[in-house]
């Protein structure tokens, strides 16, 4: 779970499975968007960070994996196509977008420290003394706040609904006071380049999307094929059981020739894997009845057909 405060919401609760993400990413670029796209899937979380239309960062994370750049984009596309995700888009300032990027790619110094147990003051002193750049992420069950540091000095605060780094600590401190609040300490290596490469320039986003769509289609076809095979096997089994039942009933009422008549009329149905049901069997009963009239009377034939119909219902 990637914990980030919500910025200024642009779009929320979109099903990414219903969006052409390659087009969507293109529109972000054209619109010179700054902010981030957050994809929440049952399998993990994807974050795409934009700075003035440039896709500066892509991250996909779950308990086992930490993917970045093209791998993250591809994986996010793949998960989005399952249709079981949620996409939120938040606008941020350029500065904040960059800070979030450095935060996501930084090193976790402390993780999930309970604010009741940690000596926060000495932690901050250490940040200053060691001239750390990075971020303190304070979070409760409901809210998140970030405190950014550069070279040991606090840079500002970011919390839910912010679009820029703020200088007032009110919201951040209020999160720290919430029950069960915790803190992560993330540090970045060096100041880094503020103007990062655009992943969309170097990555074939349309190609990645096309691959994901093709893979998804293949998986769906495989699933459908397997399901169809299972259904076909079940139908084949049902056909066999029905034929055996009819042969036995005809043998009792018409003897050996009854079994042959059943075989012949059943063959004429030309089921070829299709489903056997009452409507299909009506024609069978009519034809069988015509043949049976040559060796038996109507009462015996009716009795035989009744037994067949009852038996078939029992099989269904």
């Amino acid at each position: 779970m990637i914990l980030l405060p919500r910025g200024n919401p642009v779009k929320e609760n979109i099903n990414p499975g219903k969006v052409n993400l390659a087009d969507a990413l293109g529109k972000m670029r054209q619109g010179k968007f700054t902010g981030y796209m957050r994809f929440d899937f049952p399998e993990g979380t994807g974050i795409f960070i934009y700075q003035e239309g440039r896709l500066i960062s892509a991250l996909y994370e779950n308990d086992r994996e930490h993917l970045i750049a093209y791998d993250a984009i591809a994986r996010t596309f793949h998960e989005a196509l399952t249709g079981a995700g949620n996409l939120n888009i938040y606008r941020l300032s350029t500065e904040l977008a960059y800070s979030i990027h450095t935060l996501l790619h930084g090193e976790m110094l402390h993780k999930g420290q309970d604010l009741q147990l940690i000596d926060i003051k000495s932690l901050l002193v250490r940040m200053r003394e060691e001239k750390r750049s990075g971020c303190l992420r304070i979070y409760s069950k409901e809210h998140i706040a970030l405190i950014f540091y550069r070279d040991g000095n606090p840079l500002g605060f970011f919390h839910d609904g912010s679009t820029d780094i703020e200088t007032t600590a009110n919201s951040s401190l209020s999160v720290a006071k919430e029950p069960g609040a915790k803190v992560d300490v993330l540090v970045t290596r060096g100041a880094g380049e503020k103007s990062l490469a655009d992943l969309m320039e170097t990555a074939d986003v349309a190609g990645l999307w096309g691959n994901a769509v093709a893979e998804r289609r293949r998986q769906r076809e495989e699933r459908e094929g397997a399901a169809s095979k299972t259904l076909e096997m079940r139908e084949s089994d049902r056909r066999e059981k029905t034929l055996t039942l009819f042969q036995q009933v005809a043998q009792v009422h018409l003897g050996k020739i009854g079994t042959s008549l059943v075989d012949k009329e059943f063959e004429k149905l030309k089921l070829n894997g299709s489903q056997i049901d009452e409507s299909v069997l009506n024609g069978f009963y009519d034809n069988l009845s015509k043949g049976a009239k040559l060796v038996a009377g109507p009462s015996k034939i009716d009795k035989m057909l009744e037994e067949m119909k009852r038996g078939f219902k029992g099989l269904s």
């Binding site: 018409l254 003897g255 050996k256 009854g258 015509k290 040559l294 060796v295 038996a296």
Partner: protein
């Protein structure tokens, strides 16, 4: 003897009505067989068993009687062949109406054939009768074998035992028609004083065969009707 002929006529009337009714009420495959047996009534018994009916001295009526008798065995044999094919292939085609129309058509054509030729005299009638009885004798034997094969194919069906009855019917018909053929071929009627025993055996064989055939045909169709209820 006339009384015996009347009794025969009554039995054949019953057999004919039962077989014709049977041809209407059952599957198409029975039509040829039942119509064939019904034609015995028309072609054989009316002129043969009731000699006192008006117009029976007419050679055309007598000739048509023998021709219808010949058609009778041919049609029922065709019916048994169709049944045998069905028991082997389970395939069957045609309609009852076609059978009725074909029978009427063949009888009509035979009548036309008679009318456009010289009036049949006694010798011609004897030849036609011999042709008829020859057909009956040999086709009866063939039918017994054919029915035996049909029976083996369908002996475990409800109708199976009905075919045993048909074998018995054809055995009696063989006795009846065989005796008549023997009398005709050797003209035993004219030389019966020289061969009294042969003539007597043939004569009673013909009459008893005829009598029991009439009973067994009616009985067989009634039995089949019961089996096919």
């Amino acid at each position: 003897m006339e009384m015996f002929q009347v009794v025969l006529a009554v039995f054949w009337l019953i057999a004919g009505v039962v077989s014709f009714y049977f041809s209407i009420g059952n599957a198409r495959v029975w039509t040829s067989i039942a119509v064939g047996f019904f034609l015995i009534l028309l072609g054989e018994i009316i002129p043969g068993a009731l000699p006192f009916l008006p117009g029976l001295s007419n050679p055309y009526v007598l000739a048509m009687g023998h021709i219808i008798g010949t058609l009778s065995i041919l049609i029922m044999s065709h019916g048994f062949q169709e049944y045998y094919v069905f028991t082997r292939t389970l395939e069957f085609e045609g309609s009852k109406l076609h059978v009725y129309l074909a029978v009427i058509g063949v009888i009509g054509a035979s009548l036309v054939f008679l009318m456009i030729n010289p009036t049949p005299d006694k010798e011609v009638l004897r030849v036609i009768r011999i042709v008829e009885n020859t057909n009956w004798v040999f086709l009866s034997l063939i039918n017994i074998d054919l029915i035996r094969k049909i029976y083996l194919n369908i002996k475990d069906t409800p109708i199976g035992n009905g075919f045993v009855c048909f074998m018995a019917v054809f055995a009696r018909i063989f006795l009846w028609k065989g005796s008549q053929l023997y009398i005709d071929v050797f003209s035993l009627e004219q030389i019966k004083d020289a061969y009294p025993i042969r003539y007597e055996i043939s004569y009673w064989g013909k009459n008893l065969g005829n009598f029991f055939a009439s009973i067994s045909v009616g009985g067989t169709f009634l039995y089949l009707g019961k089996l096919l209820r």
